[in-house]
Structure formats: structure tokens, C-alpha cells
Symmetry: C2
Subunit: 100 residues, 2 copies
DNA sequence: CTATTATTTGGCTATATTACCAAATATATA
DNA sequence: TATATATTTGGTAATATAGCCAAATAATAG
């Protein structure tokens, strides 16, 4: 397998891995219903603020969510709603395809 | 969140997590092309026999692949081909939905 | 039965992940 | 400015993961 193919596999795996944790998957499914601030997610998840924040950072780094700071709150939204339709969309997440 | 909802999230996360490793994702994509024995996958992956075997066991436990021993060889196949269309199919993987 | 091939399992080490607490930062309000 | 709220960052300990080697199993060939 060449470097490029390997890089694509790695990127896809990273996205999948980011979704492969109960808390993060829960967050993604919650965000599928609309944007949420960190504080709302903290309440829903029931974990420490810092824990939720780190999960969100990881999801952001994977390209799954994006944040928007308004005032003192940070609102997160699903960057790729199609992630709920999924494998079809992994290519789009990593920018090598389109999301239908 | 009640226990049942949590169990569903956990199961989905387990599937996603199983796919969230480059080697395992590679294996899944290779199996999408047809069944392969462990020895073939070992050659393709380029890792130790035991390493590949463990990845396969993990994928099997996640419900993503199934094995079939014929003679001295064990052939693996994708249990849910729709995993390549994906999120749509996660429900099917854990038996709570259908795969189109 | 012995040797060979295919695969899994056990053991071990290095690395990564997760979660919490405490501290730092940023913004808004009194 | 002092204070409160929202969030992130740093530190740390417990747990989980990944990969290799060696040994155990299973099936086949001779």
C-alpha cells in the first residue's frame, strides 16, 4: 500500500475512532438535533466539564464538529450531518469525496 | 439516559471503535472485496500473524466480520457489507435496524 | 506417528486513552 | 475593578491498546 492510500486509511480511521467512544457518540447524536453549548452537553453527559471539553476537542480535531464562541459560551455543531448516514460520508469528512 | 439507550450507544461505539484503527479498517475494506484467509491478510497488512489474528478477533467480537474454518485455513468475511455505506448500517450491526 | 502449515493464545512492554482535579483564560456583570 | 460563569489546559493515575515473541492448537501431508 502506498503512502497516499495509507494516509487516507489513517484519516478515515481517525474519524471512526473519534466516534468510537460512548460519550463522544452520544454528543454527536445530540448535536445531530441542533447546536449545543458545552454546558448543556456537560449536563446531559454527566461528566466533568474538562472531560467533555476534551472529548469535544478530539471530535473537532477529527473534523466531526465545529465550535463557535458567542459571548462566554462555546456552541458546538455537527460539521458533517451526514455522519449519521455515515460510511458514505467519511470520504467527505476527510475532504476526498462528496456528501449526499 | 436510561440503561437501554446507554447499551445501544455502547454497542454502536464498539463497532465504530473496532473500525477506528488503520489496520482493521484496511482489513474491512479488503474483505469488502471478498473473503480472505488470515494468511492473505497477514501478507497484505505486513504485521505479525498474531497481531492480525487479534485484530480479526476484535472485529469479530464487534460483529463486523465472521470467520469460517475450512481445512487448516480460517476465512474471514464481512458480516455487514453495508458497513461500507455505514452509519445507516450501524443499527443493523447491533441488530436494531435494517440495512438497505 | 512426525513434521509442517495455519491460526490462536498467553505474556510482556511500550504507548495511548480516559477521567478527574486544579489552575489558567476569557467574557460578562455588579 | 472584583466577581461569577463558561471553557480550556495541565497534571496525573488508572486502565486499555497494540505489537511482538514464544508456546499451544488444529489440520494436513508424509
Amino acid at each position: 500500500m502506498d503512502d497516499k492510500a495509507q494516509a487516507i486509511i489513517d484519516a478515515k480511521a481517525k474519524v471512526l475512532k473519534s466516534l468510537g467512544h460512548p460519550t463522544r457518540l452520544f454528543i454527536v447524536e445530540e448535536l445531530a438535533r441542533g447546536e449545543r453549548c458545552v454546558c448543556e452537553l456537560v449536563k446531559l453527559v454527566g461528566a466533568d466539564f474538562s472531560t467533555v471539553s476534551k472529548h469535544l476537542t478530539l471530535l473537532k480535531n477529527a473534523g466531526v464538529v465545529q465550535d463557535d464562541k458567542r459571548g462566554q459560551m462555546v456552541y458546538y455543531t455537527l460539521k458533517v450531518p451526514c455522519i449519521l448516514r455515515f460510511m458514505d460520508c467519511i470520504e467527505a469528512v476527510i475532504g476526498t469525496g462528496s456528501c449526499r
